[in-house]
Symmetry: C2
Subunit: 344 residues, 2 copies
């Protein structure tokens, strides 16, 4: 039985969307059990009319909620009775619980996961890996999308290793083509960080490094995993999503501006709906945090029930694939770095 | 009379597009004269059938062309007879020539402009400022989009000052709302560079700093100028353009997939054409290089005649607005920074 804790509070549509998402996951995976963390009365009230396998669902009462505006370090210290922190404590104390899914404060989740759940041996810092759709119907992972903004080439090497394993285990990819986000495709492009990372990635065993990627090619389908610092990753993800969504909004406005266009659009209602769905990040699950001892998935604050279900599915597949164990083993297998001393 | 040198070689559609763009500019601005740099025979052959004011056009013979794959520092040293380097030398030697427009190698142009034309007094490093369309019909500048990847907060302060003047002079903006590209809108977001830059921009006189901007809001119309390091700026511009264009391509493919959609699209042919035009960077001129002694505009390699015309228009308006002089004066007027010593 795989046990996942679901933080039921802190999202825009919580607790309803989170509870319903958990029930969808219970129905989908017979060897899954969920622990719903949050205000017991509210959770019970919502569950009252639902049908589900009661043996595989339990409630962890937590009266408090961490708000998105709270300073993460304060929140995890002061809000011990919050739905997020009680779930995190459960992960820490109960080794049979595999992971957590939350739609609450990103900052608090990163800090709590890093400090309370802890990093896997060898991991410098856990990093976020969200998923984007590609134009040929596949997906591409981006690691890191914002957990670490000040980094060194070693981080990028770890992102490549952790992300490759993740794309294999959760998306069934055989050969994960890893690219380094850069300002041009040529080897010598970029700042000092990128130049050093290019060299390091080129000689990293166990990954398939295909070189630099320009940001305009993120959705092209030519890459499976893009590694970058958290600042650039955040810009990449948000400007890609933002531009695609703005373009669809503009189309909608432009269609409304002329009767002729409105007439034409009548034939294409389903298509426009599909396009919007295509770019809606909620359909691709959450950002997983790679490098922690237990699996951690951060769903978007605006997650609906399907989005929460997808997050739980990600956590479930990471655990089924023994991702944490494999990350640890892969990092341990890296050749020991030659230091200035060993060169001497 | 305002004199602009036009590098006629090095672009995908050069020299024809470059020459035709120059002729469009001559027709538009009666006090403009152009110097066409490049192979004289080829330029003359193209001009043979054209009508234009011959007194305002001259040719600077240059038999060589700098390729896009050449290393910039080598190219400017070895290709002294190239269309770009001869134009740059003219700018250096003839003080009546105000600027250069080129669709050739970006790297060579930056290096040549910085080393051969020179920085304005007080400028740390010249920076690129391309323009993007906003959803409410306006434009937004992004500085820097790739000239400098390793920077300090002082650079961002200079980008804000130079970019604000540019948006005023060339786009007629009265109040330029300057934002700092960051991973969140809150003041304390980002890495060390961004935190320090936020503080510095907040206390910079003469600019209207409105705080942090998330990349998804670039096209929103809420900002007039975004300042960022060249790495993030490059990611921002290219992923925004890339995602919008990919979205349109996807629409096109999806429309082709069903007869019903094709039928609807017949009503909307003009609209789809307009959308494509809206996101086509060639319609917004080139990336101007801010901070050099003379005006420098880099048009996209794929520029057609209208795109080259827009680049020349940018150079012309920068010179009419005395942008270089004003940048120098504004930087000189900055309060002298308190150093550790002056605090002591």
């Amino acid at each position: 039985m795989i046990k996942i804790a679901v933080d039921c509070f802190g999202g825009d549509h919580s607790p309803d969307a989170n509870i319903d998402g958990a029930l969808l996951a219970l129905a989908a995976f017979p060897d899954l059990s969920v622990i719903l963390s949050g205000d017991e009365d509210k959770i019970k009230a919502h569950l009252a009319t639902k049908k589900y396998d009661e043996k595989r669902l339990s409630i962890l009462h937590a009266p408090e909620v961490i708000g998105c505006d709270e300073k993460p370090t304060d929140a995890i210290r002061l809000k011990k009775e919050s739905s997020m922190m009680k779930a995190v404590r459960l992960l820490r104390e109960d080794e049979t619980v595999s992971g957590i899914v939350s739609t609450g404060s990103t900052g608090a989740l990163v800090v709590a996961a890093t400090l309370r759940i802890g990093r896997l041996s060898g991991v410098i810092r856990p990093a976020f890996c969200p998923i984007m759709p590609t134009m040929n119907g596949g997906v591409v992972g981006v690691c890191d999308s914002g957990a670490n903004v000040d980094i060194t080439p070693d981080y990028l090497q770890q992102y490549a290793i952790m992300g490759s394993l993740y794309m294999k285990k959760v998306y069934g990819m055989q050969d994960v083509r890893v690219a380094l986000l850069n300002v041009g495709t040529e080897k010598e492009k970029g700042d000092e960080l990128r130049k050093a990372a290019y060299a390091l990635l080129s000689e990293t065993p166990g990954i398939h490094f295909v070189g630099n990627m320009e940001s305009r090619d993120l959705l092209s389908g030519k890459y499976d995993l893009v590694v970058c610092d958290g600042f650039a990753g955040n810009v990449l993800i948000k400007s890609t999503e933002g531009a695609a969504m703005e373009m669809l909004k503009k189309l909608k406005r432009d269609i409304s501006s002329r009767l002729l266009y409105k007439l034409g659009a009548l034939f294409m209602l389903k298509m426009f709906k599909d396009e919007k769905k295509f770019m809606d990040y909620r359909n691709y699950g959450g950002s997983v945090l790679l490098g922690t001892k237990k699996v951690v998935v951060k769903g978007h604050g605006s997650s609906n029930d399907v989005a929460v279900f997808k997050c739980i599915e990600q956590a479930y597949r990471m655990e089924v694939g023994a991702l944490p164990t494999d990350i640890e083993a892969s990092l341990a297998a890296l050749p020991v770095k030659e230091t200035a001393q060993s060169n001497a």
